[in-house]
């Protein structure tokens, strides 16, 4: 009887003391946006609650309209790592690289706030060598910031030519084939890739063989990300984290942990100091 009581008490204590499943992988979400249209629909307290409930260790967040992520960062500096997007609204996505007014905007924000990187920006091919992106790269170089590039291979190569020591987070792994991604990672030691908005690397919670080979070859170069490009997608952060945990479970534990959160933590967390 005493033994049974002890077991019950122990079980009750365990349930109380561990609200988070002990086996649940923390997630470093390397691809979130909190843009102007999200601020009212997903208020800051709710946004922070979503991130914490999803079991995110940290989140790399950029916004079209930089104020949003600054509010998030102020509310949860332990959780939110800001990066600066060269967009005042998302309408800048297709025009920013020819818009010279973007530069004073970036300079002003960089003077006022600390960031881990500049991005996510959309930049393809020869546009990377236009004056505005070049100046953006210079600003990143001056401050030792990451570049978060939604780019094709050509643009990534051009960015590295401008600044060979650049550290680039390649958004969506360029939506490129795993073999091509591997070539780029092999060629550029300072290139990392996020897997946001991709599902081709895992099916039914099993990792695709071609991708598995790349993950095992470059376990310290990948991160996961939700890509909350509309306000509604903040409510997909939990689902995305759960989905990520399921396919990551198909990899060796140490590789899964690196991709889930350790790579992001190692690369970005230190860039925030001092705040």
């Amino acid at each position: 009887m005493h033994r049974l009581l002890a077991v019950l008490l122990l079980t009750a204590w365990a349930a109380h003391a561990q609200p988070v499943m002990p086996t649940q992988l923390p997630i470093f979400d390397a691809h979130l946006h909190y843009s102007h249209d999200a601020w009212e629909l997903v208020p800051v307290p709710q946004a922070i609650e979503i991130l914490r409930k999803a079991g995110l260790k940290r989140a790399l967040i950029s916004s079209a309209g930089d104020d949003g992520q600054q509010r998030l960062h102020q509310a949860a500096p332990d959780l939110v790592i800001p990066e600066l997007r060269p967009y005042r609204t998302r309408a800048d996505v297709g025009t920013w690289f020819r818009d010279e007014s973007v530069i004073p905007y970036l300079e002003d924000r960089l003077r006022k706030y600390k960031y881990a990187g500049i991005g996510e920006f959309h930049l393809y091919g020869a546009d990377a060598d236009l004056p505005v992106p070049r100046r953006m790269v210079e600003l990143a170089r001056e401050r030792g910031l990451f570049l978060h590039a939604h780019s094709d291979v050509d643009a990534v190569e051009r960015l590295f030519r401008q600044w060979p020591q650049a550290r680039i987070l390649w958004a969506h792994a360029g939506f490129d084939r795993p073999e091509r991604v591997a070539e780029m990672l092999k060629k550029h030691k300072n290139l990392w890739a996020d897997l946001a908005f991709r599902t081709d690397h895992a099916s039914n919670d099993k990792v695709d063989p071609a991708w598995r080979a790349v993950f095992l070859q470059f376990p310290d170069r990948f991160m996961v990300g939700t890509d909350s490009y509309t306000p509604e997608r903040w409510h997909y952060i939990q689902g995305h984290a759960d989905w990520s945990r399921r396919w990551l479970a198909d990899l060796p534990r140490d590789v899964a942990e690196r991709i889930a959160w350790k790579n992001g933590e190692q690369v970005f967390a230190s860039l925030l100091q001092p705040y």
Binding site: L41, Y229, E232, Y236
Partner: protein, 492 residues
């Protein structure tokens, strides 16, 4: 206004109160009717800028006098002018006339007017006549032809063993209008799928016993769907028919309640439909109710539309058409610069899949409708899906889609691409009924908010930037996808 030129003939024949001959309007004539007369006319091949003649038959209704004179005229209401030539009207015999020398010198909408005079009064009967067709290119014609023919061949649903069986159709129809199937005894399928509203409810969001999150889709032509519901959470019409029965917001029934209702009220109908007594297993009865309801809904097939007639005429190589020029121009936008037919293609005007076109999908503060992403998860968990024991298709082919479908990130916020057949009768629009009219829908795509679309999403989704005339034309085309009188034929 330009001087009107008309044809006029006074019939000097004796005026009779009743026709002395059997007067009938020829069956192949275009038929008009006034309070006193029936009139039929047959025109020779009408082409732009070419003279033609019209044969006219007038028949007085009982008690009305024999027509004394007929005048024929035509004008373009949109251009406010008439013809350049004065037609001559010749009496060929009692009630029979011929007008020569007419010419529609411009393409567009003409009103062909017949004024029948008798007993000191004149009846004006008007037919609208569309002259001329857009000279569609070979490529455009190929695209247009892909949207037909209509109706397509009807095949029974292999997953439903009573699909097409008349006794099951009869039972399904009774159940469709049976409130006692609902848990409260107060709601029936037709509450939301009202026959007089094209089998939907005209509400933005459905209301069964409570308000739900989405717009009620019509069940007309549902037999042609691949997935059912805005999120495709069901893979057969019969599984979809079960869903609202059990939803507490809609009909709030339980399997035991449904089975009990069948045993108490429809035991003979059940035997006739399924060839066996009502089983003891409540779940089996529930599934059979779904299958009977599906059998009935399979009979709801929309009728032929003005577009279908135009499409078939094109296929036959005919150039003469009564299809409005506005609709033709809208069709050109639909298959061309609008890129609408990329998703809304085929005889059903849908690819049967799902898309995110930027329609917001918050349901309430802090709550979103996950759309297809949630739908796939529900589908996989649903005990009535086609991978389960209730699928009557032993070949397994009907379950291929269910076996292979898998969630992708882009599915979050995607909703089913609806058929556009009968669309004029199914307002309001979108998955949440957020757009009240077809004009609003056209405006939505004309001013599409690209900021709500992923940079690597569907590339064809760009603001169309339509002119007011183009918007009106596209709306006219969409309206031409409804059968006259919103008729829904019963499939055999």
């Amino acid at each position: 206004m330009e001087k009107r030129r008309t044809g006029f003939c006074f019939l000097a024949a004796a005026v009779l109160s009743f026709p002395a001959w059997p007067c009938t309007v020829p069956g192949d004539a275009t038929r008009l009717e006034s309070s006193r007369y029936f009139l039929g006319f047959k025109a020779e091949a009408v082409e732009v800028a070419r003279h033609f003649s019209v044969d006219v038959t007038t028949c007085p209704k009982p008690g009305q006098p024999q027509p004394e004179a007929l005048k024929v005229d035509a004008q373009m209401p949109e251009h406010r002018h008439g013809m350049n030539y004065a037609p001559a009207v010749k009496a060929l015999g009692p009630g029979h006339w011929r007008a020569d020398g007419l010419m529609f010198h411009m393409p567009g909408k003409w009103e062909l007017a017949f004024e029948v005079t008798a007993g000191g009064a004149t009846d004006r009967l008007v037919a609208t006549y569309q002259v001329g067709a857009i000279d569609f290119s070979k490529d455009e014609i190929a695209k247009i032809l892909r949207h037909g023919p209509w109706p397509p061949p009807l095949a029974p649903d292999p997953s439903n063993r009573v699909s097409g069986k008349p006794e099951a159709v009869a039972l399904g129809e009774k159940l469709f209008f049976e409130p006692r199937l609902s848990g409260t005894g107060s709601v029936l399928c037709a509450t939301c799928h009202a026959p007089f509203r094209h089998f939907q409810d005209a509400r933005a969001r459905a209301f069964g016993l409570e308000l739900v999150d989405r717009n009620t889709p019509t069940v007309v032509d549902a037999r042609f769907h691949r997935w059912f519901g805005w999120d495709g959470a069901r893979d057969s019409l019969w599984a979809q028919s079960i869903r609202p029965l059990l939803d507490p917001r809609e009909m709030r029934a339980t399997p035991s309640h449904i089975a009990g209702t069948i045993r108490a009220l429809f035991p003979k109908d059940y035997v006739q439909a399924f060839g066996r007594p009502v089983p003891q297993d409540d779940e089996e009865v529930l599934v059979d109710v779904g299958k009977a309801l599906a059998a009935f809904q399979e009979t709801l097939v929309s009728g032929r539309t003005p577009f279908d007639d135009f499409r078939d005429a094109l296929e036959r190589g005919e150039t003469k058409t009564s299809y409005s020029l506005a609709a033709q121009r809208g069709l050109r936008i639909f298959i061309g610069k609008g890129n609408c037919s990329v998703c809304h293609f085929g005889p059903q005007f849908t690819n049967g899949e799902f898309a995110d076109t930027g329609v917001p999908f918050f349901v309430a503060p802090g709550k979103v409708d996950p759309g297809r992403q949630g739908g796939i998860e529900k589908l996989k968990q649903n005990p009535f899906n086609l991978l389960g024991r209730f699928n009557d298709d032993r070949s397994g082919s009907s379950a291929v889609k269910t076996k292979h479908v898998e969630v992708q990130h882009r599915n979050f916020g995607e909703f089913r691409v609806p058929s556009l057949r009968g669309v004029a009768g199914t307002a309001p629009y979108m998955h949440n009924g957020s757009l009240a009219t077809l004009a609003d829908v056209v405006k939505f795509y004309s001013e599409l908010n690209e900021e709500r679309l992923h940079a690597d999403g569907e590339k064809i989704l760009k603001p169309l930037h339509l002119t007011p005339q183009e918007s009106e034309d596209l709306r006219a085309f969409l309206e031409s996808l409804s059968a006259p009188g919103d008729s829904t034929s019963a499939a055999p």
